[in-house]
């Protein structure tokens, strides 16, 4: 993964641009593919690194993540099942856009976009673009939230 921060920032930016109120659902979608870490931590002592790595691959694929998000939506929402699924789906899409552009390569599960139909990988080589993106978005969001907080405090004073 590029970094958790990069995923969260891209999710936040997309949620801001599309004016989505329930940002946390988009963010949950952004983080859902990386739920593999928990499974990896559980499986590591029993299976060892190679097998544990193989075990987590399906979770970190678009198909696996979408199915997981369906499961999560079915737990959370009574009436807004599809809407919540769509918001999480948006987060998942942003996650894989960043992962496919990652460099250096860090695990094939980031590029298995058509799993389980094929093991063929798809991606674009963008150098260290994701890191630059993280820094740029960090700065942009810090400015944005800083400005918002300043305005809020000014309003309270007046």
């Amino acid at each position: 993964m590029p970094s958790i921060l990069a995923h969260i920032f891209l999710g936040l930016i997309v949620a801001h641009v599309l004016r989505i109120k329930k940002k946390s659902l988009v963010l949950l979608g952004c983080m859902l593919p990386d739920a593999k870490i928990f499974l990896f931590a559980l499986a590591l002592p029993a299976l060892g690194p190679t097998q544990a790595n193989a075990l987590i691959i399906p979770i970190h694929t678009p198909a696996g993540s979408l199915m997981l998000s369906l499961f999560v939506s079915s737990l959370f929402a009574k009436n807004n099942f599809l809407r919540y699924f769509k918001l999480m789906k948006l987060g998942i899409i942003t996650h894989f856009i960043l992962d496919a552009a990652m460099f250096p390569f860090n695990g094939i599960e980031h590029y298995l976009l058509l799993y389980p139909f094929t093991w063929q990988i798809f991606g674009i080589e963008t150098g260290n673009l994701t890191h630059y993106f993280t820094l740029a978005s960090f700065t942009a969001l810090a400015l944005f939230y800083g400005h918002k907080e300043l305005k809020r405090r000014q309003n309270i004073r007046t």
Partner: protein, 157 residues
Amino acid sequence: MKDMGKRALGLACLFIVCFLCIWSLNDAPRNWCIMPPTEYVAEHPEIFENKSVYVDGMISDLEKVEGGTVFYLSPFNGLLRGLKVESGNRTSLQNGMTGVNVYGKVVNCVLSAERIRTQDTTAPLEFFFNVAGLFFFILIAKEEWRVKKGFPYLEER
């Protein structure tokens, strides 16, 4: 009844994911880097350019690396690339090498101190971003909890 259908769908999806995970234990390509016949590739780097190659080796060979540059083929455009490896730093080595051994076909190339193409210095930065990201995620969740007096999504159940 509708809720039952949704829950059944959710559970079915979870079951499918679990099945795929267990299935991939045997089916997945081994995503570990493989040490190549070092001297041979160092002498003939042109052989590995724009080609997929099979090389035998084991993950345990990583322990033997004492620094230098790891050369490998980009799985996307087939170009020969290199990453500098810190002495005894397994993490940075894995960053550069895993994912190169795609589908057990495209394999990283060679460890050689003589040829340095690019340097990978992003590992500590990435660690910082991951920690900061987790912190930020918790902060957002906390704020959401404070503003909305609990997670409304859970209350809608």
